[in-house]
Amino acid sequence: MSSPTPRRSPLGAIESVQHPPQEAQLFERPFLTQINLRLDPADSEALAAIQLVLGVQLPLTPNTTAAGQELLAAWLGPDEWLLLTEHHQPDALVTNLQAALTGHFASVVDTSAGQTVIRLSGPSALDVLARGCALDLHPSAFPPGACAQTLLARAQALLIAVDAAPTFDIIVRRSFAPYVAAWLQDSAHQFDLHFPTSDTA
């Protein structure tokens, strides 16, 4: 039996950069499990079943996230969420969610290979993002735990405020990732960006 094709992260091919971590820091968080979940928020039975599987209650407030021990649930729409985790394999989580939602009007889609997560942190992160994003991302307006889908340098992106450093997770489609990473590098150039990448899991 031939060996399985090695996984390649969307940004795995980009040469790692240059300077030691100073102000802005940028790196990919490859191979996270990402599940798109849709269900009727009025279906309290389905919400309860999901909570049992995930260990976290789906956030019903727009543009917020809910963090559990092993998993983050981000609000994408009134009936749509993104589940992010490094502790569950996609196949197993999809199977568990589908089993929990049997008989309910819902959808569970594995988007792990279709998107990637870029983490940007440091005091200059706000300046780096402000060059291509119209949202007010200052912690006073966009505190840790907030999320927003918007345009970053004209690419659709989901921004998640991780902590008040500030640190952001930027989730973009696989095909946009090299462009967004290059744009972030360019935007962050004056801040001595540190951008190591990881090739393998």
Binding site: L76, G77, P78, E80, A134, Q149, T150
Partner: protein, 88 residues
């Protein structure tokens, strides 16, 4: 630039949205019963109002929901936004 108030995400710039034309045009319950003129009127004919206008927008780059915006077509002032559930 318009600052459009998405009922879910709050005010966002218009780059994030797609315009969907005049709102409140119900699909005929029984299309087969219509004449060609009535069907064409439903499909193609829209008011071109001066002033207060109810129109559809989709938050394409955000939550991807359609909703209704009330806008003054003369001043571009946004007078409000509502979900379809609210406006029925």
């Amino acid at each position: 630039m318009l600052l459009i108030p998405c009922p879910w995400c709050g005010p966002r710039e218009d780059d994030e949205f797609t315009f969907g034309g005049e709102a409140d045009i119900p699909r005929p319950a029984d299309p087969d019963a219509l004449t060609d003129e009535q069907w064409a009127d439903y499909l193609f004919m829209r008011d071109n109002r001066r002033g207060h206008h109810r129109e559809q927008w989709c938050h394409t780059a955000g939550c991807r929901r359609w909703f209704v915006v009330e806008r003054d077509t003369v001043t571009n002032e946004i007078l409000g936004a509502s979900t379809y559930g609210d406006s029925q």
